[in-house]
């Protein structure tokens, strides 16, 4: 009868130094439990230790079959635990279970955060048990195993591994416009323990370094602007310059041996010069015929031509020849 009262199947589950004792209940009715612990060394002394068992706080006179005994545990040390089952006047002590905290404890998964900068992927690891809690780090000498891969839909990328001791790692040379996924596991080499893998964290790398592209685009735009606007402008300016040069500063000068031109420095032969004094050239005809007729030419005034002829060249025909020419002249007049 008493055997059915005892708690059985004592087992300890520990994660990140949080220790829980579980046991199985045999009798279903009105059993209260007391969880007790003993410092391990007391068994090694040649003394009685039956009175040295201490109660675990918050696990006295309980009805559920689990107990959190983290409060009595120190990392350097070992303990024995037992459960006293009570029903009325009956009491039964379970078998003892030995607990070596660092060996029994399980390492929980670390936290992961991803950051990107240029072509570097930064992995920030938060240690299991929290950053403030140094027990895990100090006692286990934790290292971290990082698994990372490029998540592409078309083909399977190989999973790469990296082991670090620090809580920050960097993956160099990540390809642009890709989805990278990471998961991290904490492990202790001296204790040969490893945690479960953390949750998978993924991050998108930005579309290819855009800054050089922007710079190139601006450069091409500026080049085009220069070509489209600058070229006609230059052309127009050049033409204007040419015209001005043509008008004011002619490149071909008339030869200096031509009289009069050398002295005229600022006057161009192509501009209209001042009016030269005109010579009224009249062809004075005095026809001396045999009959003695004198033909008058009253319309001589019409002949006032502004002749540019300076009259240097004269018609040196003799009388006979001139007669003939005069006659033709007459005819023309009529």
């Amino acid at each position: 009868v008493k055997d059915l009262l005892c708690a059985t199947n004592l087992r300890v589950l520990a994660l990140n130094m949080n220790f829980q004792l579980f046991w199985s209940q045999q009798e279903q009715q009105e059993v209260t439990y007391n969880v007790q612990y003993l410092f391990g060394f007391l068994k090694n002394l040649n003394e009685d230790y039956w009175d040295k068992w201490l109660g675990v706080p918050r696990c006295e006179n309980i009805t559920n079959t689990c107990c959190n005994f983290s409060s009595i545990i120190t990392s350097t040390g070992f303990y024995y635990l037992r459960v006293q089952a009570r029903q009325g006047n009956n009491s039964c002590f379970s078998r003892e279970i030995k607990v070596d905290p660092l060996k029994t404890n399980g390492i929980g998964p670390p936290g992961v955060r991803l950051d990107l900068s240029d072509t570097l992927l930064h992995i920030r690891i938060s240690p299991p048990g929290g950053a403030e809690d140094e027990i895990m780090r100090d006692h286990y000498d934790l290292s971290y195993r990082i698994l990372y891969w490029k998540n592409s839909s078309n083909k399977e990328e190989e999973v790469k591994q990296k082991e670090v001791k620090q809580t920050i790692a960097t993956i160099p040379d990540v390809s642009p416009s890709s989805l990278y996924c990471v998961k991290v596991q904490a492990f202790s080499e001296p204790y040969n323990k490893s945690s479960a893998y953390s949750q998978q964290e993924c991050i998108h790398t930005p579309a290819g370094s855009s800054l050089p592209l922007i710079i190139f685009g601006i450069f091409m735009g500026a080049l085009l602007a220069v070509l489209l606007v600058g070229t006609p402008l230059v052309f127009v300016l050049y033409q204007a310059y040419n015209k001005i040069k043509y008008v004011f500063f002619p490149s071909c000068q008339p030869p200096l041996n031509i009289e009069g031109f050398g002295a005229q420095l600022f006057s161009s032969p192509y501009l209209s010069a001042a009016e030269e004094p005109l010579e009224n050239c009249c062809v004075i005809e005095s026809m001396v015929t045999e009959e003695g007729n004198q033909i008058d030419f009253p319309d001589y005034q019409h002949y006032k031509q502004s002749s540019r002829d300076s009259g240097n060249y004269s018609n040196d025909d003799n009388a006979s020849g001139s007669k003939g020419s005069k006659e033709t002249l007459e005819r023309e007049m009529v």
């Binding site: 410092f39 090694n44 040390g77 001296p190 040969n192």
Partner: protein, 183 residues
């Protein structure tokens, strides 16, 4: 018969390898550093500052520092294990007059005991090779701790004798800490 003998040999080798491989001993150096660190902290925690009146009773026990000279890593490890055992033994009884914090004292003892137990399991004691130097260190340590034990007995384990012993143990652990860091 030859086959049977051969099989027995193989069996022995296999069993010995399984024993040594099942014993996880890689963690011991790391754990030892933590045990020493914790022990020093608990030694400070369990009592108050060294009482002025006990200064005149101060004795020099002359710890044999040569046992911790790292001539051989293994011999130093064995020496450390023995020192832990001696300290554990000294602090195990007649502590009523010391009036120290019981919890701190228990945790102190517990840590030492854990380390001793695991060192015993992992350090392979070579009974065949009895080095003269190892025996000499063992005797020197024995002499040193017996001196402390006699001192405590003579003073009937009063407060001052305990405080002096506590200070001495502190010095001893600090020496071990220095050596362990170098290993």
């Amino acid at each position: 018969i030859m086959n049977a003998f051969g099989l027995i040999q193989i069996g022995l080798i296999l069993s010995s390898t399984t024993i040594t491989s099942s014993l996880q001993c890689n963690h011991l150096p790391l754990q030892q550093r933590q045990v020493i660190k914790n022990s020093l902290r608990l030694l400070d925690k369990m009592g108050k500052k060294f009482p002025q009146q006990c200064l005149r009773e101060k004795m020099s026990f002359r710890f044999p520092t040569q046992v911790l000279q790292p001539r051989q890593k293994e011999s130093v490890g064995v020496a450390i294990e023995e020192i832990f055992q001696h300290i554990f033994y000294i602090f195990s009884k007649n502590l009523t007059l010391a009036a120290w914090d019981r919890t701190a004292l228990d945790q102190f003892q517990n840590g030492l005991c854990l380390q001793i137990e695991q060192l015993e399991a992992c350090v392979i004691k070579k009974h065949t090779q009895h080095h003269q130097s190892k025996e000499v260190s063992r005797l020197k340590l024995k002499k040193y701790f017996r001196k402390i034990d006699c001192f405590l007995k003579d003073k009937q384990h009063d407060l001052c004798s305990w405080e002096i012993s506590r200070a001495e143990m502190r010095r001893c652990l600090q020496l071990i800490d220095k050596v362990t860091r170098k290993l």
